[in-house]
């Protein structure tokens, strides 16, 4: 267990390093001179040169990278190029909170409904329920989330006027308004997750149900319900981990278009706006944070599930 932990953490650190190098380099390839962008039309060449020196843009790349890492470790994510000269580190927490307040409920709803629907569908394989669930879940993967968002806005907000069109209210500020505004975005985010989880659960359960030990449990006289809950679900759950760890990417990074459509001040919209404004400092910070959340989320999930399933540890020992 100990060696597995160390190995796993080391691998994560290497990944983190690679991500920082990657983010650093790719932003520097973006066209546009940041100093010119900050000072804008009418700036004198001398002022532009001064600002470039201030932003360390005239130093060699390796040195710029080291300065950046050093600042990061001190908690300084840089000063935004276009967003009112604010510290990026000040702006990010509230935006991450806004995104998480939508993706976490979405993921939870998706897991609950997905597992339930997938299980029911597997158990009642071949029946009408199974057919409908299969069709719906495969469709759910195919429908573009932004299109469903527009569709829902059109029906529920414009035509029926049941829900507000856009916007975001933090749950701590006004919980009722938060729920009203969150219904449509959460549904759109959850749709894709739900469909994938349903499909995965269904296939996992189908495999497990046909295993010998299930037959034995039934032969021993256990009721069908007990068989499912005690044996099948537990064993089918573990491979679901792979699916759920993929979802970590989506927790912070998969909501860009939805946030744009619903005008939610989350991290995705922030990434989009920064990219569109060529605010390379913000883009750098946001991409890095998203990557770190994913990497450490996966690490955590792996460790937790390696406790549950020793086979995972063995695979790593090789």
């Amino acid at each position: 267990m100990g060696s597995y932990l160390i190995k796993r953490i080391l691998v994560s650190l290497v990944t983190v390093f690679l991500v920082t190098v990657f983010v650093f380099l790719i932003i520097r390839i973006l066209p546009g001179d940041p100093a010119l962008v900050m000072l804008g039309e009418g700036a004198s060449p001398q002022k532009v040169a001064e600002l470039r020196a201030e932003l360390n843009l005239d130093k060699p790349l390796v040195q710029q990278y080291i300065i950046w890492i050093r600042d990061l470790l001190n908690g300084d994510f840089g000063v935004s190029v276009t967003y009112y000269h604010k510290q990026v580190a000040d702006m990010i927490p509230s935006k991450v909170a806004a995104t998480l307040s939508l993706t976490v409920p979405a993921l939870l709803i998706a897991i609950i409904i997905g597992v339930f629907a997938g299980t029911v569908s597997a158990v009642k394989r071949g029946s009408a329920t199974d057919q409908i669930v299969t069709v719906l879940s495969t469709s759910g993967i195919g429908i573009p989330a932004f299109w469903i968002a527009i569709f829902m806005i059109f029906i529920f907000a414009v035509k029926l006027k049941w829900l507000p069109i856009q916007g975001y209210t933090s749950p701590s500020a006004d919980f009722q308004m938060y729920v009203k505004k969150a219904i449509m975005p959460v549904f759109c985010i959850a749709l894709n997750f739900m469909a994938t989880i349903t499909r995965q659960t269904r296939s996992q359960m189908l495999e497990v149900i046909n295993q010998d030990y299930i037959r034995t449990a039934r032969a021993n006289g256990l009721s069908e319900g007990r068989v499912i809950t005690r044996h099948a679900i537990k064993n089918a759950a573990i491979p679901l981990v792979t699916v759920i760890s993929l979802m970590f990417r989506m927790l912070v990074g998969g909501t860009i278009v939805i946030e744009s459509v619903f005008n939610i001040p989350g991290i995705g919209a922030f990434a989009l706006n920064s990219l569109m404004s060529r605010d390379y400092i913000c883009v750098q910070a946001v991409t890095l944070i998203m990557a770190l959340v994913t990497i450490f989320g996966n690490l955590f999930a792996d460790i937790v599930f390696s406790i549950l399933d020793p086979r995972i540890r063995e695979r790593w020992a090789k």
Binding site: P31, G142, I143, R249, G254, V257, A291, T294
Partner: protein, 288 residues
């Protein structure tokens, strides 16, 4: 001789199993066929999708314009049909691009497990930890708007999945006796990779490729919707949804029709992928 027989038999078997998946798989197949067909014969029955007529903006469906006109007086139906071309081509091209690079790297990573493989897999991990849309957005911002730029942006995003897939399979396969024997016999590594290992990976790759076509279409639609992918005069379903969004209250058809097309094609591709997977290798059911 024997080989030919078995392959033709297996092809027939593939179609039989695929068809036995039910009506859904067959319908999906014909949906895709339908879209490909209209994309090919588009010039025969469509008006010029770029022809603007500012005096005929936002017209309702009529005999002249079967689905009406958009904000610049262009025929919506023709634009959807021509958009089919670009959406399908772009997804196909990005899939091929990703597959070629991903498979090669995956083969290398799996075979040369120790050093090269480890590096490649860590790079893949790093790549996969960056959310896919952010990644494509950044690449689009660097490359600019346009069809091939979008193809590259989406393709790059799909490469890691191929690498992981193929690497996993190679790891299992290379322990097989006949592979060990071939290498002991002095066969060149490149030949082993491409002639012996690769064909065994084909079934899985094909299924992944089909699924990726669907997600490529979704990615292209998303990118074009936020303004990064395809731009006029090229027509894509995603940019049509973006154009239609501002006229949502006036003419909802503009935004809704392309969305329906996207959904139909992607869902059909998913069903086909499911069918292929069951036909080619049912053991994969839980994994893809």
């Amino acid at each position: 001789m024997k080989n030919n027989e078995s392959t033709s038999r297996s092809k027939f078997r593939i179609w039989r199993v695929f068809a036995s998946r039910g009506l859904i798989a067959k319908i999906s197949f014909f949906i895709i066929l339908f879209f490909v067909a209209i994309a090919i014969i588009a010039p025969l029955f469509c008006q010029d999708p770029l022809e603007q007529d500012l005096l005929a903006r936002y017209k309702m469906p009529s005999s002249e314009h079967l689905l009406g006109t958009d904000s610049l007086g262009r025929d919506i139906m023709s634009r959807i049909v021509y958009g089919t071309r670009i959406s399908l081509l772009a997804s196909l091209a990005s899939g091929v691009f990703a597959a070629m690079i991903g498979i090669t790297l995956g083969l290398i990573a799996g075979y040369y497990e120790r050093f090269v493989g480890a590096i490649i897999m860590r790079l893949v991990d790093a790549h996969l930890s960056i959310p896919p849309l952010i990644f494509s957005m950044i690449v689009c911002a660097i490359l600019g708007n346009g069809i091939w730029q979008t193809v590259v942006a989406i393709g790059i995003g799909m490469i890691p999945t191929y690498i992981r897939l193929v690497q996993g399979m190679v790891l299992t396969l290379k322990g097989n006796d006949y592979i060990v024997a071939t290498s002991l016999l002095g066969q060149k590594n490149a030949v082993i990779l491409f002639k012996h290992l690769l064909p065994n990976c084909f079934p899985t790759i094909i299924v992944q490729f089909t699924m990726n076509l669907g997600s490529a279409i979704l990615s292209e639609a998303g990118l074009s919707f936020i303004g990064l992918g395809i731009v006029s005069p090229d027509i894509s379903w995603g940019s049509m949804v973006a154009e239609g969004y501002s006229a949502l209250v006036k003419v909802p058809l503009l935004a809704i029709m392309p969305g329906i097309c996207i959904a139909l094609v992607v869902i059909a591709l998913n069903f086909i992928g499911d069918g292929l997977r069951d036909a080619l290798d049912p053991r994969l059911r839980g994994k893809l």
